[in-house]
């Protein structure tokens, strides 16, 4: 393992920024959700990288956090996509900028 820790962190920052750009710049609610998932994954990569390079790897803290994070991401994706489908059924569109009823 001759790759320094910073390379993993840079990869994670790249993935986070790509997900952020997609989540704020795209109009489709599904792509916004994919962007959020990418950001979550970038955070998970940080946990695993710090666990692997940290001094107390035998405590398994990073691994446990990522396992719970993956479970919560699954719940979030299920509820988010159910919301997208419900909105599509009501409005015949899932473009986030056409849902502006609450806009002042």
């Amino acid at each position: 393992m001759n790759t320094p820790l910073s390379h993993y962190l840079i990869l994670s920052a790249l993935l986070f920024s790509i997900g952020l750009a997609g989540a704020v710049a795209r109009r489709s609610a599904i792509v916004v959700l994919i962007g959020i998932e990418l950001m979550l994954n970038a955070a998970n990569l940080n946990f695993i990288a710090f666990w692997r390079y940290g001094p107390h790897a035998e405590a398994l803290t990073g691994v446990m956090f990522v396992l719970f994070s993956i479970a919560i991401a699954a719940a979030e994706a299920a509820v988010g996509l159910a919301l997208v489908i419900a909105i599509y059924r009501q409005r015949k569109t899932a473009q986030v900028d056409s849902l502006d009823e609450l806009k002042g």
Partner: protein, 189 residues
């Protein structure tokens, strides 16, 4: 070093597919590229000696969430690319600028920190047996809470997406443009 080479190869694979997932115009392509990016992340976990997390990532993200996204894309089919309609929001340049700024700040912080340039210690042992023991002892309460959360999310998702056949949609829920062209809505005012 073969290990280093593998990391850069997998990292390039993941980033390319993540960019494709965020930029391609068709939603199905976005979903499939996102699945490939998640698979790349699973490979990086395997490369970081976190085998259990890597396979969990593969099962949950590539196996379940990607399929869920594809199903959602297929169920919202009428939402596809319409001529004259851009796929990005009007203020997309501001969003991309914010993302680039965030990347610059994070990259600067990472590259300027000398303690983050260190190399990995010898491979830690994280056997599945040990993970299971930890889940049943130290992390048993969070595990139970995740079970409750997943049950609640499952029921919630079913209730939200359930199709109510007998419900008559009130005109007030229509989009503004539709309401304007319908005479019935005008008479209601």
């Amino acid at each position: 070093m073969p290990n280093e080479f593998a990391f850069y190869l997998i990292a390039a694979f993941t980033v390319v597919f993540a960019v494709a997932a965020m930029t391609l115009p068709r939603l199905v392509h976005c979903a499939l590229c996102a699945a490939a990016a998640f698979a790349g992340l699973a490979m990086i976990y395997l490369q970081l000696d976190a085998e259990f997390v890597g396979f969990a990532q593969l099962l949950v993200y590539v196996g379940a969430i990607a399929i869920l996204i594809v199903f959602a894309v297929l169920l919202t089919r009428g939402d596809e690319v319409r001529p004259g309609h851009s796929q990005s929001s009007p203020s997309w340049m501001a969003g991309v600028a914010v993302a680039v700024l965030a990347l610059a700040v994070m990259a600067m912080a990472i590259l300027l920190s000398p303690s983050l340039q260190r190399l990995a210690p010898s491979a830690p042992v994280a056997p599945v047996k040990k993970i299971g023991e930890e889940l049943m002892t130290r992390y048993v309460l969070p595990l139970e809470m995740v079970g409750v959360l997943l049950t609640g999310a499952l029921l919630g998702a079913v209730v939200i997406a359930m199709h109510e056949e007998s419900e008559v949609k009130p005109p007030a829920r229509w989009p503004a443009s539709k309401r304007a062209e319908s005479g019935e809505a005008m008479s209601l005012r």
